[in-house]
């Protein structure tokens, strides 16, 4: 497990130690060449942009690619699913499946790919622009974009959980008493999207615990892992940005810590979006598995 995490986060940790070292270097340069101070700041900014934007953009591209492949998967699977559903007939009354749900999930992924990620990138670039040219600030605009996206995503997830729980076959297997303090802890400690995370995880769990009767625990847990690894990676990277900002605050410029903080915030929103995709993915994967199981055992 440790090498796995190392592979996952190795590059991220490297780039953050580079940021810390670079701000030390800038400190020394400021002492030696005070007339060069303005440019030292610019160059530090520059180093941080090249080094720090890379993991952030990698995550953007990662999530975009995942969204793309998941939407392709929907397009490929949807006709087969509906056709076999009609063929299977009564078997699906077991699950109270709504075909609209699948379309809905597809719609969410297309929305992510075409609208959410470009908007988020815009917010990030607006932040960078603000820090580069403090005379032309766009902080409010970036903030509005981020809060709108969070609102949109949580609305979609709320709609999902309504769709799922309306069916009535799913019940939340974990005892509420045991998970409540844990939920509270997550909500308190992850800024912006903590409560959203616990809620969406809860509704995914509610769905898959109902389904586990058909599918089996190990398959569910592997689907969960596959779907949630990108989100978890994004979340950890976002937390790293915030930690780095906190670490270098005493000796670095206000601008640089602010920029790192902003990138962190944007990545939190990206993490929320990737939860949406994970949600859609889990739904489709589980559904296909159930379908295959039903079709093979019905005979």
């Amino acid at each position: 497990m440790i090498p796995f995490i190392d592979v996952l986060l190795g590059t991220v940790i490297t780039s953050f130690s580079i940021i810390i070292l670079a701000s030390f270097m800038a400190l020394m340069m400021d002492f030696l060449f005070p007339s060069f101070k303005k440019w030292t700041r610019m160059i530090l900014f520059f180093i941080i942009l090249t080094v720090a934007l890379k993991p952030a953009f990698e995550h953007f591209i990662l999530i975009r690619d995942i969204a793309y492949s998941v939407s392709m998967m929907f397009i490929a699977v949807y006709p087969i699913l509906t056709a076999t559903m009609i063929a299977a007939g009564g078997a699906f009354s077991l699950l109270n499946f709504q075909p609209a749900m699948l379309l809905f999930a597809n719609g969410a992924v297309v929305l992510t790919e075409k609208l959410l990620i470009p908007l988020l990138t815009t917010a990030l670039l607006l932040d960078v622009g603000t820090r580069l040219l403090p005379d032309v600030p766009f902080t409010k605009l970036a903030e509005i974009i981020r809060t709108t996206l969070i609102g949109l995503v949580s609305a979609v997830v709320a709609a999902y959980s309504i769709f799922i729980t309306v069916g009535g076959t799913m019940s939340w297997a974990l005892s509420g008493l045991a998970s409540e303090p844990l939920k509270e802890l997550v909500q308190q400690n992850i800024p912006l999207i903590g409560s959203f995370m616990t809620e969406s995880l809860g509704s995914i769990g509610r769905y898959s615990s109902g389904v586990s009767v058909f599918v089996g625990g190990w398959l569910i847990s592997s689907i969960w892992t596959v779907a949630l690894v990108p989100s978890m990676k994004t979340l950890l990277t976002a937390l790293f940005y915030r930690w780095t900002a906190a670490l270098i605050e005493p000796f670095a410029d206000e601008d640089i810590t602010g920029l790192l903080d902003d990138i962190g915030k944007t990545l939190f929103v990206l993490c929320a979006i990737s939860f949406l995709i994970a949600f859609a993915f889990i739904y489709t994967a589980l559904f296909s598995v159930i379908l295959i199981k039903l079709l093979t055992t019905m005979k």
Binding site: S17, I18, L21, A22, M25, M28, M29, L32, F33, S35, F36, W39, T40, I43, F46, I47, L49, T50, V51, L53, K54, F57, F60, T121, L125
Partner: protein
């Protein structure tokens, strides 16, 4: 050892200063010419004994940073400082426009040093635009 060397350099600078005062007293007509030549001799001496070794130490200190950055930063800062000193010197002699020109040219040189890095950054940014 290093501290002794630095004290010795300080002493040398004081000797040069005294020499300059003496020149101003003995041959006032040749003062600016002699000042300039002595200044450049001292400048190159200090460059080879203090500034360049320090630059190397600095680069070694920040070796773990991505390769060109530490070198580029210290290099461009030293270049900027030198250009500032030289153009100030020219300005003191009364050739202000020449001073501005030399400083400007050095600035362009420094920017050219950074072209590769700028290209990288712009490529990262434009990879988002072209889809």
């Amino acid at each position: 050892m290093a501290r002794d060397g630095l004290m010795f350099i300080l002493l040398q600078i004081i000797v040069v200063f005294l020499l300059l005062l003496l020149i101003a007293f003995v041959v006032p007509k040749l003062q600016s010419l002699l000042y300039t030549s002595i200044f450049f001799i001292v400048l190159f001496y200090l460059l080879t004994t203090v500034i360049f070794p320090f630059g190397r130490t600095f680069v070694r200190l920040f070796e773990s940073l991505p390769n060109p950055f530490a070198k580029l930063l210290i290099g461009s800062a030293i270049l900027f400082l030198l250009s500032e000193i030289i153009s100030e010197h020219i300005e003191e002699a009364g050739y202000r426009s020449l001073a501005t020109l030399s400083h400007f040219v050095i600035k362009i040189t420094i920017l050219l040093l950074w072209v590769n890095q700028t290209t990288n950054l712009i490529e990262i940014l434009s990879s988002l635009i072209t889809k």
